[in-house]
Symmetry: C2
Subunit: 360 residues, 2 copies
């Protein structure tokens, strides 16, 4: 080891879902949207002024903040934007979780929360989800330094009704409660309607899933003006110019096309429900997902085996080798055609296996 | 104050140079390049595949890393990229400055260093520059937890020869030394040539100045493969997908056009030297800048007065109300035409003032 290495931060890096170059792969591993974004975005690309690239972007992200505020019928000062919801969430951890008491999030949840907590030296506790993967609200009524969880939860897809969210936010009026709504557009009801009532509530969403813009890295937070001001102050102190001008313009163009959004979200929900039925028929069970993925296990065949078999056949899904969830596959909802290809492969694989076993 | 506010991080946000909407302004306040980027970038914009925006970007930033490595004739594993050099520098602070001993940087320097140090709880000391704004290398031969300074320095523009850099890096083999070369292309010699010799040396550069791409937010670090690995590990643990695919593609297109780069950099250097002569003629003095700005003060008129007079006439320069430098203007090098307009305004302003004073 080099002399200078003793003071280097050593972390176990998060391994993101693979982004293979092979275009023949059916990619159901990172919860991307199978449909392109609005054609508004195409127009906004053609309007990029390359001469203007020499200038710094607008640090207030005005064009995008305004478009989001308009969409949700809230004020500009209730919106904060960042480089994907990961950037927004990390900034929120840094800004709002500064207590000596532990923050709370579920044992099974988005895999970045514990990483950020450790990075920023934030103590944390992880109350266990129940056996059906639901949150027990009572677990979040203990002394804490803040609360965060996704709704719907990842990687289970389970949605908690707004009454549960309100119950938790109301009880914890002395800390910030962050609801990570990356998947809310696929069937749940957003807690955005609660922000005027609870100024300790922050909602975080993303353009990466329902809005087909994972490639542009756009996330946002919605909350009371005072929370948004604290977030902006922290951001300006860290890196004033984060989102590039292209992301701001393309994001604003994207969110204005509500018709395209409604159409593709509905299509994904329909495909999800069709997929649930098909998977159930061939021996899978799963929490009743309200997200753009299904978290499924098979009654006989280990998830890891299926994961590898699918991968060998150019169908990528996600497998987490972690306690309590290491017999599940997280399958992103693609097009009907992609899902049918996957289901047919699984059907054949399972059949062949049963035939082989009945011959033994 | 709300109950939840006691645990909120409160910071004094950095105030970036203004980005006015008014296009009639001569904007010499944020060290932007007055010339557009390479026409390669125009072509890369026309090739953006909007359908692909639905997919996450390449987390390894391969296309851009390769292009930078090729340009500097180094290996891919010696290059790290991020969202502007601010993102790269912040990540480097977080990764490399974890000692209990203070890190060192000059008292007059880039205004983000102390902010990041405080954000991450890093102790720091700020040795004073000498009266001519030069670093005294002996100040950096004391026990420390790491070293960072810009070369050329900001906001003075002063360049330290490579021998001084090597002297400091060599002496401090037990810590990481970061050289922030945001302005190196305007006349200095980069320390990149030292990276194979010193594995504790990290060089940080940006596309925002010499490469006319401030709007796309592209920065990079160059160092030994082991330093780059530590940076990538920290990045992946924080936010795997940072740079959007458009920035990666446009950045790669940009750096390949060496001819355009050489031409515009030479033009800016010529304009800077012309501007120095003109400013000297009307009573200004300044450190001999090797950057794309001049840090100037007038023998009779306070900088703040000139700053406000220029602003009223739609000429924006930068003024820092800080000890030791509060009688200087930082003037970005624009086009010849912009500089002549500014010089003529200053000439008239100073003349009118002298006439008025001689009449009293």
């Amino acid at each position: 080891m080099n002399k200078w290495e003793k003071n280097v931060r050593k972390v176990v890096p998060y391994v993101p879902g693979e982004q293979p170059d092979n275009i023949n792969i059916i990619k159901l591993n990172t919860n991307e949207n199978p449909y392109p974004p609005s054609e508004n975005v195409l127009k906004a690309i053609s309007e990029i002024d390359y001469n203007n690239l020499r200038l710094y972007p607008d640090p207030t992200c005005n064009i995008l903040v305004k478009a989001i505020a308009e969409y949700y019928n809230i004020s500009d000062n209730q919106v904060f934007t960042g480089i994907g919801s990961d950037d927004v969430l990390a900034m929120a951890f840094l800004t709002f979780f500064n207590s000596d008491k532990p923050i709370l999030f579920p044992d099974i949840t988005y895999s970045f929360y514990d990483v950020w907590a450790e990075l920023f030296g934030i103590p944390y506790l992880t109350p266990e989800l129940d056996n059906n993967f639901f949150i027990n609200p009572e677990d979040y009524k203990k002394e804490n330094g803040g609360i965060i969880f996704p709704n719907p939860n990842a990687p289970t897809g389970l949605y908690q009704p707004l009454s549960t969210i309100e119950d938790i936010v109301k009880y914890n009026s002395d800390v910030i409660v962050i609801i990570d709504e990356a998947y809310i557009d696929f069937g749940g009801e957003s807690a955005i309607k609660l922000i005027d009532k609870y100024d300790n509530l922050l909602i975080v969403q993303t353009f990466s899933k329902s809005r087909s813009m994972a490639g542009m890295r756009i996330g946002f937070a919605i909350g009371s003006p005072i929370l948004i001001k604290y977030l902006n102050d922290a951001k300006y102190s860290f890196n004033s110019y984060t989102m590039n001008q292209t992301a701001l313009n393309l994001g604003a163009a994207c969110i204005k096309d509500k018709a395209h959004f409604n159409k593709t979200v509905k299509k994904i929900i329909d495909t999800r429900e069709m997929t649930k039925k098909q998977l159930a028929k061939i021996g899978f069970s799963f929490p009743d997902s309200m997200a753009n993925f299904i978290f499924a296990r098979h009654k006989d065949i280990p998830a890891k085996e299926l994961f590898l078999a699918l991968k060998q056949n150019n169908i990528f899904v996600r497998y987490f080798d972690k306690p309590r969830i290491n017999n599940f596959l997280r399958i992103t909802i693609g097009t009907d055609e992609e899902m049918n290809t996957m289901i047919n492969f699984l059907k054949n694989y399972i059949n062949k296996l049963s035939v082989r076993q009945s011959l033994i």
